[in-house]
């Protein structure tokens, strides 16, 4: 059905292309006719590009959504990332599988962390009158209107990956996913454990500036440090933008800034970035094993580092758990309609050298 739509789109765009070429001489200064004839040809060629692009889209959409015809429920999932981010990439497939099993036809949007786009997607979703909406807030503070609209339309909303603000919770039926704040906190607890009372200085590498997950994890980590181990001091912090390169350079520069001697620890808000930070240490012939290093995540980069002792501890976050539970929770809400708000936190498994090889902390990306 989606395929039909898209092939339709492609066909019409092609027609449109020729149409455009035909109207080519509008408002032009004494156009020569032959120019336009020549060009019509040129342009038809140009259009094949568009054609091809959209065609890909066709097949893709087919894969993307489960077959809707025998679907019990129709659900919109408003996500801020998808194939443009590795986490989203490993989040989507289990989500779609689960949906297929539970007979849910998913329509997935990706606002690329633009709050305004997500809000607009939300309007679209509400207008489509689905059975439910799964929301992954692009910017936590900005989702209330969307929730309000959904509520007014009587569409149940569940939240995934990062929870809404407490005051907005009454507008949602449940939350599944990591407690992004809690992850920061857990990583801080690890840090405190390893610091074991001594005064140490650490550097902090955060996620993309302004990104809500990044902010939550940063706050979680910092607050916990303040409460539980004031002996740990954050000497410097820079964004690593979820990205190994940036993180490596930033880390290296912070080492320069505060002096290698003063640093006994490193915290990075995810595995990719911690890998960069560890590279930075190695590049300066500092043995990461001598430092206390903690992070969050589940990438193929993370566990080996834990095993070889350079990464002391990390908080495991399973993108597949996240994606799968987003759907199962929604299904629960739709089928058995529990009274109160369900909160299903992803178990914050702390991964250290002791359990790094356990199957339940198997890296996913």
């Amino acid at each position: 059905m989606r395929t039909r739509r898209l092939t339709g789109l492609v066909g019409l765009l092609t027609a449109g292309a020729l149409f455009l070429a035909a109207c080519g001489d509008d408002g032009s200064n004494d156009t020569t006719t032959d120019a336009n004839e020549d060009a019509a040809g040129e342009d038809a060629a140009g259009d094949d590009g568009a054609d091809g692009g959209a065609d890909d889209g066709a097949e893709d959409a087919e894969e993307a959504g489960a077959d809707p015809d025998d679907a019990e429920f129709m659900v919109y999932a408003l996500l801020p990332q998808g194939n443009d981010q590795p986490y989203g990439t490993t989040y989507l497939p289990p989500m779609e599988e689960a949906a297929a099993e539970l007979g849910i036809s998913l329509t997935i949007t990706n606002s690329q962390y633009d709050a305004d786009t997500q809000a607009s997607d939300c309007e679209v979703a509400v207008a489509a009158q689905p059975d439910g909406i799964i929301l992954w807030p692009a910017v936590g503070d900005t989702v209330r209107p969307c929730l309000q609209a959904a509520n007014d339309a009587g569409i149940p909303v569940t939240v995934t990956n990062s929870d809404v603000n407490p005051e907005d919770e009454e507008l949602t039926r449940g939350y599944s996913g990591p407690d992004t704040y809690g992850q920061g906190a857990a990583s801080a607890e690890l840090m405190c454990e390893f610091a074991d009372g001594e005064d140490i200085g650490i550097i902090m590498i955060n996620g993309l500036t302004g990104n809500s997950t990044a902010i939550n994890r940063e706050n979680g980590f910092e607050d916990t440090i303040d409460e539980q181990c004031s002996n740990v001091e954050i000497l410097a912090r820079q964004p690593g933008n979820w990205n190994a390169d940036e993180s490596q350079i930033a880390a290296s520069e912070m080492i320069t800034a505060v002096g290698a001697a003063n640093i006994q620890g490193v915290y990075a808000a995810d595995d990719t970035m911690v890998a960069g930070a560890i590279d930075a240490l190695r590049a300066r012939d500092i043995d990461p094993a001598d430092l206390i290093i903690t992070s969050i995540g589940n990438t193929f980069l993370g566990n080996p580092l834990v095993i070889d002792g350079s990464l002391d501890g990390k908080v495991f976050q399973s993108s597949s758990w996240d994606g799968e539970n987003a759907v199962t929770l929604m299904h629960e809400v739709l089928t058995q309609d529990p009274g109160e708000r369900i909160v299903r936190f992803m178990p914050d498994v702390k991964v250290t050298i002791d359990n790094a090889e356990d199957p339940d902390v198997e890296p996913e990306w």
Binding site: Q85, G88, Q238, A244, S252, E253, T256, A257, A283, W365
Partner: protein, 339 residues
């Protein structure tokens, strides 16, 4: 957005003509500033850093500066050809860098290094030719053309790869490249210098580079000199594409990872470096070496700010001010010359 030579009318009013015939010598200092300002600025900034910023002068830190500069620098060096040809910029480097990085690691893991590189080159050529034809043959505006190729390119990349992050083998050739040092210098840094020098030679010493500069300086005069101008434009965009490809390689090798989002913001960051270097967006004036300086300048500045604990916001503000400042000098110089 019209480059100066594209002005419709071919005749100047007689009076204006006569006036223009008169020798109009530039005011020396401002002229010099416009020409050599970047050297001065860089020197001053580095001096300032050495004196006031602890640890700036240390080798590891300078290495960081260059690690910051290397990928963006190679991209900017390539894009310089587009800017000098009077076509503003190549937005599609964002898509190109990401594609090259992903292709390098993914295809190397799957097939091998050589096919990966060949494949990446093929893709770069496609970008260069498509952008080049749209701009050179259809005379369409470079900004919009490269904007649309960015949309298409990134879309295709993410749709085809599913946007996954790719890791090179922990002891593979890419990793080796990323970690090898010659003496104290990382290989990437040396590649950066080598590529810049090479591109600089292409621009200054070769027939092609010469035509690019001439085209940027005066399209009609270049055409009337018997130059195949569409080919020149296609060539310029191809150089930009190749630069972006190498930049992608360096980026991928540096962290041994590749993901489609790793080159966000490379378009305007590269342009910023080029402009700060003193290459004129009107085309004709500028050089790859200036771009090198511009990139170094920006990285030094960022480095200083990080060392002094200033956040991302301040870094952005500084770069913004810098662009306007650098170009104001040039503009004022042009004014005094005209006066």
């Amino acid at each position: 957005m019209t480059p100066k030579t594209a002005s419709g009318t071919r005749t100047l009013p007689p009076a204006a003509q006569v006036e223009q015939e008169l020798e109009t010598r530039a005011f020396k200092l401002s002229e010099w500033m416009a020409q050599q300002g970047i050297f001065l600025f860089t020197a001053v900034l580095v001096l300032f850093a050495v004196v006031f910023i602890d640890g700036f002068a240390s080798l590891p830190n300078l290495t960081d500066v260059f690690n910051r500069a290397a990928p963006i620098g190679i991209v900017a060096a390539g894009m310089t050809f587009v800017v000098i040809s009077g076509n503003y910029l190549d937005l599609s480097v964002v898509a190109q860098v990401a594609t090259a990085a992903v292709v390098l690691i993914a295809v190397t893991n799957a097939v091998g290094l050589v096919p990966a590189i060949l494949f990446a080159i093929a893709i770069a050529l496609v970008y260069g030719i498509v952008n080049g034809i749209a701009v050179g043959v259809f005379k369409a505006n470079a900004v919009i053309v490269t904007l649309s190729t960015t949309f298409i390119g990134l879309g295709l990349l993410r749709w085809l790869t599913g946007g996954s992050i790719y890791f090179g083998e922990s002891d593979g050739p890419i990793r080796t490249f990323g970690t090898t040092r010659i003496g104290p210098l990382p290989l990437a840094m040396i590649l950066f210098i080598v590529v810049t020098v090479l591109l600089s030679l292409v621009l200054t010493r070769t027939n092609f580079g010469f035509m690019v500069r001439a085209y940027g300086s005066n399209r009609e005069a270049t055409r009337l000199a018997g130059v195949n101008t569409p080919l020149v434009v296609i060539g310029a965009f191809t150089m930009s594409a190749l630069g972006a490809m190498l930049g992608g390689f360096v980026l991928a090798a540096f962290s041994n990872t590749a993901v489609s989002s790793m080159s966000d913001g490379y378009d305007f960051r590269a342009l910023a470096a080029i402009i700060v270097g003193g290459t004129s967006v009107f085309g004709g004036r500028g050089s790859v070496m200036r771009t090198l300086l511009g990139v170094v300048f920006v990285s030094v500045l960022t480095n200083i700010m990080v060392l002094s604990g200033l956040g991302f916001g301040f870094q952005q503000m500084a770069i913004g001010l810098l662009i306007v400042l650098a170009v104001s000098v040039d503009a004022l110089a042009r004014k005094t010359r005209a006066a």
